[in-house]
């Protein structure tokens, strides 16, 4: 596997191989917590934390972990970091912990983390794995924040809880309910893929 520069890894994580709109991973939480931007931000940061540290740990252990049990090992590592995040949230941000509820625990089954461990951290050294974890996590967080931005402004008229739309304008409450989540994510994938495909076509015609 060719050695990737840190910059290449970052671009992959944020755009070309974005976990949410390219690989279609981590969708459960992308829909569930994005009706408020502050919850989305904390969820995003939690995922970046878990992905980066899990990647690092898997990478450190990559040469001594027997192949047969690597899935169990990865699950153990990921679950441990998620528990740590859960404890820290409960201790320092109890209200947000309450709002995120079970979705913090569901970070364990978030396919992004397992995906990165399997696809990258297992075969790469520690620093690139760390960068990859951060990049994938940030790629995820940015997409979620975009979805949350539209859902919160349309549905509640606020951004991070601060009202930005005058209250005379009727709120599109549907946006903060499940159907709105599905529509918003579908549209964002549509838009981003259109842009991405145009770029690909441009590359194909120029190369």
């Amino acid at each position: 596997m060719a050695k990737l520069t840190s910059q290449a890894i970052i671009i992959k994580g944020l755009w070309t191989d974005n976990p949410v709109f390219r690989q279609i991973l981590g969708i459960c939480s992308a829909l569930a917590v994005t009706n408020l931007m502050v919850n989305t931000l904390i969820m995003g940061l939690s995922l970046i934390f878990v992905t980066a540290l899990s990647n690092v740990t898997v990478s450190i252990l990559r040469n001594i972990t027997p192949t047969r049990i690597r899935m169990m090992v990865q699950t153990l590592i990921i679950a441990s970091y998620v528990i740590i995040v859960d404890i820290l949230l409960k201790a320092y941000l109890p209200d947000i912990s309450e709002a995120l509820g079970a979705y913090v625990g569901l970070i364990i089954t978030n396919c992004i983390i397992m995906g990165r461990c399997e696809a990258f951290a297992r075969q790469n050294s520690v620093w690139p794995s760390f960068v990859d974890g951060i990049a994938s996590g940030v790629g995820y967080a940015l997409v979620l924040l975009a979805v949350a931005f539209f859902r919160e402004t349309a549905g509640f008229g606020s951004v991070f809880g601060l009202p930005v739309i005058p209250s005379e304008w009727t709120r599109w409450t549907i946006m903060v309910m499940p159907p709105g989540a599905f529509f918003m994510l579908g549209v964002i994938i549509w838009v981003v893929r259109s842009i991405g495909d145009k770029e690909l076509k441009k590359d194909e015609t120029t190369s």
């Binding site: 001594i64 972990t65 027997p66 169990m72 153990l76 404890i87 549905g155 309910m177």
Partner: protein, 210 residues
């Protein structure tokens, strides 16, 4: 093959041990803080619904002191009632009762403060629920709970009428009506039900205490 098997088992065991120790360490460091968070949270809620002023940004220690000075708890027929006393401890300034019942998703827990004459609401607040964030979860928001402040509690003990009704936002007119939460009909209905149920149950108990 056997060697790899044995190594795998030892490896898994050791790794599990290491991570369990790390997680337990993080937990032990924070468990007290988490418990204190819970306790102070409840105390803050009780002080809030009893309209006992707590300075903005008060430290946990301060909240604890104010609570111990101004609030006494009493058990009446298995229910814990919190009684607010004045600064000098002479007169009763309000009662706080627990609110509890099924919400739309899971149990909802709150407190309601009632005036000493049992005729007005001093305030309500919810401290634990599993409702949808941003929808049913808005029962914790200021605009919702502020509606109840100062509302008259009807003298309707024994009748089948509700003490309070949650109506579509904008249509609440009568003195016992407040705005429900748009898009959260299930939660609004559940909250209406549990407020009425707990008022009906607690008012006679408070009357005993006076």
């Amino acid at each position: 093959m056997k060697k790899i098997r044995r190594f795998s088992i030892y490896y898994m065991f050791l790794l599990t041990l290491i991570f369990t120790v790390v997680v337990t360490a993080v937990y032990e460091i924070h468990v007290d803080r988490i418990e204190v968070n819970e306790k102070i949270k409840l105390q803050k809620i009780i002080l809030q619904v009893l309209d006992v002023p707590v300075p903005e940004g008060a430290e946990d220690r301060e909240v604890l002191d104010i609570f111990n000075k101004r609030v006494k708890s009493k058990d009446v027929e298995g229910n814990t009632i919190y009684i607010a006393t004045s600064e000098n401890g002479e007169s009763v300034e309000g009662y706080a009762i627990g609110l509890q019942g099924p919400g739309f998703w899971g149990p909802v827990y709150g407190m309601m403060g009632i005036s000493p004459q049992l005729d007005r609401v001093l305030g309500i607040a919810f401290y634990k629920h599993s409702e949808t964030p941003g929808l049913g979860g808005r029962i914790t928001e200021f605009w919702f709970i502020d509606q109840f402040k100062g509302k008259k509690i009807g003298d309707i003990q024994g009748e089948q009428k509700p003490f309070f009704r949650l109506k579509s936002p904008g249509t609440a007119k009568a003195s016992n009506e407040v705005d429900a939460i748009t898009g959260a009909t299930g939660t609004s209905r559940a909250v209406e039900r549990l407020i009425n149920k707990d008022l009906r149950r607690s008012l006679p108990l408070l009357a005993q205490l006076r």
